[in-house]
């Protein structure tokens, strides 16, 4: 097989893996938009906040440590213990549920029946608040996140492809783990929404708020539930991305990677987020491989949006999005 073809296959496989990571971020957006019609600008910051909280708990860091020391003149430097990863993930999830409750109690319930743009602006405020809160609670330094996920070159795939083609493919173990986790996550989410009472209530609210209210479904409960699930998805995304680069404030920018995925896959479809992620991942990587060298490289960021725009022109609601029909 010619080298260029082998390289292209390797790039495609890596694109698929990267697409899964994009889809993980996009999923959080979809969940909230589907249930409440809110485009949650804070989703990227939620991933950052969740990852910061997870590392903070694992390392036994005292929340607001710097603030306490600066105001009270104390010399607090952590609790002096460390928490196992699994227990820390559970505790972080509790924090994200509390956050969801607080968002609903303090912000969303006051904005019921407001225009979507008002709700969108509220999430912009929320994003900046959460970023500042994360900074004050856990500090701005770069934190190493190790929850035991494998990382680095997968030697089995490397050896296998080397024996077959004389060239070993590079696939990162972390990407394989992310793919498996994403599959489990999507399966659980679909099962939850199809086969549980709360899931059906969530779908009812997504279809029609008024009708759902009229049959006794609590909008407050559903919103807290949705934001909690989105918080969980943000935590998973934060772990995956944080394991690659360390947990730091640039983590919030992963939201930029989710936008073309949402444009392509639609804002209301979980399978759309996955398929959109895969198309964007493969598309941008292959374009960089084939065309990048001719135009000076670094095409991935903008090409993802071009690809999404092309789809948008032909299917404004995205690949799997619901067609919007408004009767006058």
């Amino acid at each position: 097989m010619p080298d260029q073809l082998l390289f292209a296959i390797e790039v495609t496989l890596n694109g698929l893996m990267a697409g899964v990571l994009y889809a993980l971020v996009a999923l959080g957006f979809v969940l909230i938009f589907k249930a409440s019609g809110i485009f949650n600008y804070a989703q990227g910051v939620m991933a950052l906040f969740a990852a910061l909280t997870l590392v903070g708990i694992m390392e036994g860091q005292v929340p607001f440590e710097h603030l306490i020391n600066a105001t009270l003149g104390t010399e607090i430097h952590g609790f002096g213990w460390s928490v196992p990863a699994l227990f820390a993930i559970i505790l972080t999830m509790v924090v994200m549920v509390l956050f969801a409750w607080a968002v609903n109690w303090l912000v969303l319930r006051h904005l019921v029946n407001q225009e979507p743009i008002i709700l969108f602006m509220a999430t912009i405020g929320l994003a900046y608040f959460l970023e500042g809160l994360g900074d004050m609670m856990w500090g701005s330094d770069i934190k190493t996140l190790d929850v035991g996920l494998p990382q680095g070159l997968n030697t089995t795939i490397d050896d296998m492809t080397y024996n077959m083609f004389g060239y070993g493919f590079y696939i990162d173990n972390l990407d394989i783990a992310a793919t498996l986790i994403a599959v489990v996550l999507v399966t659980v989410l679909v099962a939850f929404s199809q086969y549980t009472k709360q899931g059906r209530a969530l779908r009812a609210v997504a279809d029609d708020h008024q009708a759902a209210l009229s049959v006794g479904i609590s909008l407050n409960f559903i919103w807290v539930l949705t934001w909690s699930i989105a918080g969980f998805v943000a935590l998973v995304a934060g772990i995956m991305w944080g394991a690659k680069s360390g947990v730091q404030f640039s983590l919030s920018l992963i939201a930029l990677k989710a936008l073309p995925v949402l444009m392509l896959g639609g804002f209301t479809s979980i399978p759309g987020a996955i398929v959109g992620g895969l198309i964007i991942g493969v598309g941008e990587k292959l374009f960089e491989f084939l065309v990048g060298p001719l135009v000076g490289g670094a095409t991935e960021n903008w090409f993802a949006y071009v690809l999404a725009l092309i789809f948008l022109v032909f299917r404004p609601q995205g690949l799997f999005g619901e067609k919007i029909i408004e009767r006058v």
Binding site: G139, T144, Y170, W241, K244, Q248, F249, S250, I254, K257
Partner: protein, 427 residues
């Protein structure tokens, strides 16, 4: 009410003019995606000024007033910070961003306020004949590129012909700075240069490192900042690129960059133009007058790190420039123009650095009307993951001055022609 207004007016009159002070704005970034790097530099910069105020009572009797303004590493915010602080008697700017530097060069030149871009910014600004108000000593990006290649030449018995060297760079004005020098050097020494841009912020670099794996360069040089550095080192580790063949510029060589990759980052190399660690007499004074007194900047957890030391170094140069200006003009309350004169006649000798409690901290250099870029020397450091410290691998290596001077001259003259700048230092 009339009495109150009279009293206020009288008080204001009797108070007279505000006490003179030396104003050094600190265009820092303690928030946003680059905060982890902005904080240690800002802390070091602030702590040195605090030390001078507390220990020496300021510079020549004038207290330093450091005005901190948050840029978030955002060019527009950086310009806003400049505009909002320049009227407060600013003597010297240090924007810690090549993007902001490019925007400020015409502004500071028009306003007559000097700017020091310590090892960053526009390389050709080291040409004092054209860039009267800009200083970028002790070394520039082009020096960095040249030093890296010189080091690799030494590693290869003086011959790089037939070798392939990859440049993984931040796709911005900053990241593109070394390309011209490296292109010239590749023609000169017969190595192949592979350009590998990474888009901001650099969180996703899989394509870049798959290319590195496919094209198999012998060495990779990196011009990164922030998360790009951590991801690049992690990806290099993942593809099993030998760490000892991976060299970062001085902005890709802090503890922040190597820590996330853990033990596997062991052996990664980076350039530096100052010392690392806290084994200097100055640190004793900082402990006594600043930290123990509760006057330290930030959380106090950055002391001795690469970027904290760089902030200290930048502030030390600002103070030395101010002292020189006071000496030249015989006044303590100096103006920005006098500060510029001080910066232009600054000489950092071994003796002077030893007097400051920073013996051997940085390369010696002597600025002049034409030379605003310093001696162009940098050392190679190597990360020891076991001890968690940077080890100094070489002495300060001199860049290829013949080449750098020619390139600087070409670029600076083109800028002068474009902007109708009259050359200085002609007599």
């Amino acid at each position: 009410m009339k009495r109150l207004i009279t009293a206020v007016a009288l008080t204001a009159t009797l108070a007279g003019p505000a006490m003179a002070e030396l104003v050094f704005p600190n265009l820092s970034y303690r928030t946003g995606p680059y905060a982890a790097n902005g904080i240690p530099f800002a802390d070091g910069y602030a702590d040195y000024f605090t030390l001078i105020n507390e220990r020496d009572g300021g510079v020549g009797g004038e207290m330093i007033n450091m005005i901190e303004c948050e840029t978030g590493y955002n060019t527009e915010k950086g310009v806003e910070c400049y505009e909002s602080t320049k009227g407060q008697g600013a003597l010297l700017y240090q924007p810690l961003s090549t993007g902001i530097t490019y925007q400020l060069i015409p502004r500071v030149s028009a306003d007559g306020i000097p700017m020091h871009t310590l090892g960053y910014g526009r390389t050709s600004a080291s040409q004092g004949e054209v860039f009267k108000w800009i200083f970028n000593y002790p070394a520039t990006y082009w020096d960095g590129a040249s030093v890296a290649i010189k080091y690799l030449m030494d590693e290869n018995g003086g011959d790089l012909s037939g070798k392939k060297i990859g440049l993984v760079y931040h796709n911005s004005a900053y990241g593109k700075e070394p390309i011209r020098t490296l292109t010239e050097l590749s023609e000169m020494h017969g190595f192949e240069l592979l350009e590998l841009p990474v888009d901001h912020p650099g969180q996703e670099q899989r394509s870049t490192w798959v290319q590195v794996r496919q094209q198999r360069p012998d060495y990779v040089i990196m011009w990164g900042w922030g998360v790009m550095n951590q991801v690049a080192i992690q990806e290099a580790v993942n593809i099993r690129f030998p760490m000892e063949n991976f060299i970062g510029i001085w902005w890709s060589g802090s503890e922040n960059d190597v820590m996330p990759a853990g033990e596997r980052a062991n052996g990664y190399k980076a350039l530096n133009f100052h010392a690392v660690g806290d084994d200097f007499e100055l640190y004793d004074d900082l402990e006594e007058y600043v930290w123990s007194a509760g006057l330290g900047a930030g959380a106090g957890d950055q002391h001795g790190t690469v970027l904290y030391n760089r902030g200290l170094y930048a502030a030390m140069i600002a103070v030395e420039g101010a002292k020189k200006a006071q000496e030249i003009h015989g006044v303590s309350a100096i103006t920005p123009a006098q500060m510029r004169d001080g910066m232009e006649q600054l000489a950092l000798t071994e003796e002077r650095m030893a007097d400051l409690g920073l013996a051997g901290f940085g390369p010696t250099f002597e600025a002049s009307c034409t030379n605003h870029g310093g001696s162009g020397r940098a050392a190679i450091n190597q990360w020891n993951a076991e001890t968690g410290e940077w080890e100094v691998l070489t002495d300060y290596i001199q860049s290829n001055q013949d080449l750098i001077e020619r390139l600087v001259e070409e670029d600076a003259m083109a800028y002068a022609e474009e902007n109708n700048i009259e050359l200085r230092c002609q007599d």
